[in-house]
């Protein structure tokens, strides 16, 4: 079979469905596809929503940035522990691979029951619900960030372990023979070997957390909302004129994702992961 016939079904499906969805979002956002009335090119939706849009965008970027950083801080050491000679290795390997297929929605439901006032953690720590900080739906998206970082740190740990498993022992032993201590080996051998995978993982996590709805909706506050939550609330509003505003928020989310993907691809090229 020719290469085009092999690629066509997947490429056509992905290309056509993505393209018509994005075009219909853009047309709706600019007033060209109203539910009722005449199409009219306008930027009203963006104007009517401007402060909410910027707040939503900022909230989404705060969530994505802190989640990605925390996932790396916890995922990289976990990945190193997975390839080290340690007694917790087996337990850690089982745990991270169990967490991987657990849907984010389930993680969010469980973390809500863990961190809310009257949740499992304040019960165990003996803190009254009224004295417990607002980790769920509070002024900083703490519970959201913890859920994302929890699941994605397992993902980071597994891809780092996969990247290190082949040549680490050999190189690390060579460095030890040459007199490098454990911290020096970590900084000069292990981390540089893990860095490209960690970067690729971080980009995937950033894009996911930026556009994810359910965790942010379930564990977030009502104002300001992250972009996906804002968009969905407007989308289901009984006020039909809110449709273009919902589309404006969705379009902004798509454009942010494309911009971040562009930065990510440039970064991966720079470190030589992509040609």
């Amino acid at each position: 079979m020719g290469s085009l016939r092999l690629l066509a079904p997947a490429a056509l499906l992905v290309g056509i469905v993505s393209a018509i969805s994005i075009i219909s979002i853009a047309l709706t956002a600019f007033g060209l596809m109203p539910l009722v009335g005449q199409p009219r090119l306008s930027t009203d939706a963006f104007g009517a929503l401007s402060s909410d849009l910027w707040l939503g965008l900022r909230e989404s970027f705060v969530i994505a940035t802190t989640s990605t950083i925390l996932a790396l801080i916890l995922g990289v050491p976990a990945g190193l522990a997975l390839v080290s000679v340690s007694r917790i290795r087996a337990a850690l390997a089982a745990l991270t691979s169990v967490i991987l297929p657990v849907p984010h929605l389930i993680g969010a439901a469980s973390i809500g029951l863990l961190l809310s006032g009257g949740g499992v953690l304040p019960r165990w720590l003996g803190v009254a619900p009224s004295d417990w900080p607002a980790l769920v739906a509070g002024s900083f998206p703490t519970a959201i960030v913890i859920e994302f970082a929890w699941k994605e740190s397992a993902f980071i740990a597994l891809i780092i372990a996969a990247a290190l498993s082949s040549r680490l022992t050999e190189l690390s032993e060579a460095a030890a023979v040459l007199g490098a201590g454990p911290w020096q080996r970590l900084r000069r051998v292990t981390l540089p070997m893990a860095a490209p995978s960690a970067l690729a993982g971080a980009i995937i996590i950033y894009l996911y957390t930026l556009g994810s709805y359910e965790v942010t909706w379930l564990l977030g506050r009502s104002y300001p909302e992250a972009l996906p939550v804002l968009a969905y609330r407007l989308f289901t509003s009984i006020d039909l004129t809110a449709r273009p505003q919902a589309a404006a928020a969705a379009l902004l989310a798509i454009l942010s994702a494309v911009a971040i993907a562009g930065v990510g691809i440039a970064a991966l090229r720079r470190v030589g992961v992509l040609r």
Binding site: L13, V14, V17, V98, P101, P103, I106
Partner: protein, 255 residues
Amino acid sequence: MSRFSPLWRWGGGALLLIWFVLPLLPIMLWSLADRWPTGDLLPTWGLVGWREAYGDHMVPALLRSTVLGLIVAAIAVPIGALAGRALGWQIGGRHPWSAALLLAPIALPPFALAMGLDVLLLRLHIPQPVAVVVLLTVFAVPYTTYIVRSAYAGLDSQIEDQARMLGASATQATRKVTLPAIAPALWAAAAMAFLVGWSDYVITLIIGGGRLVTAPILVAASASGTGNEPLTSALAVAVALPLVAALLIGRLVRR
């Protein structure tokens, strides 16, 4: 070889284990609890959550999620396998545009595409469940394509030529030589595609419009609404447990 001090190894290891275990404990404990009086370290055990989940139509919802996952896998695996063959063996070139296009859904927010597609459904007269399957397949194809692509990349493309020289037809060469070699990747791809359909919430919510009630829809409704911890936890465990069980069985079988 000198090693990190025990404080780092044990302290760090213990913290990591707590970090990974703690978030899963609430649904595990609450799904087996009738009540949890304030001040008690552990709940009062019971199965009220499972009884309520059964009454909340959990079983049909789990069946719908299963069917959704199977259909998404049945479409995304074959088309991903074909694309993965072209990309992995670089048949007719490196195809940089197709390679990029087939990764693109990983970057795009699912809720935004779902809204865009939903706006068109009324105009195009496409039934909602069909649109849910189509969009979920779009988000599953990057995984199936790239899992199969790396299997092909690790397989010498001359393997089929050698079978042909020994008298096999083109179809036989693919069926009897290549397919068995990439079978593990096909199964992994099917598992990922099934997972996309099984665990989806936002696409089913937006396009299904509340009429396609899958298991995640029930979990979200309970988690956001009632404050009924045993029910929420039983539903959540029912969604997560089959995946965890399948994964652990898979690990044992491979060993």
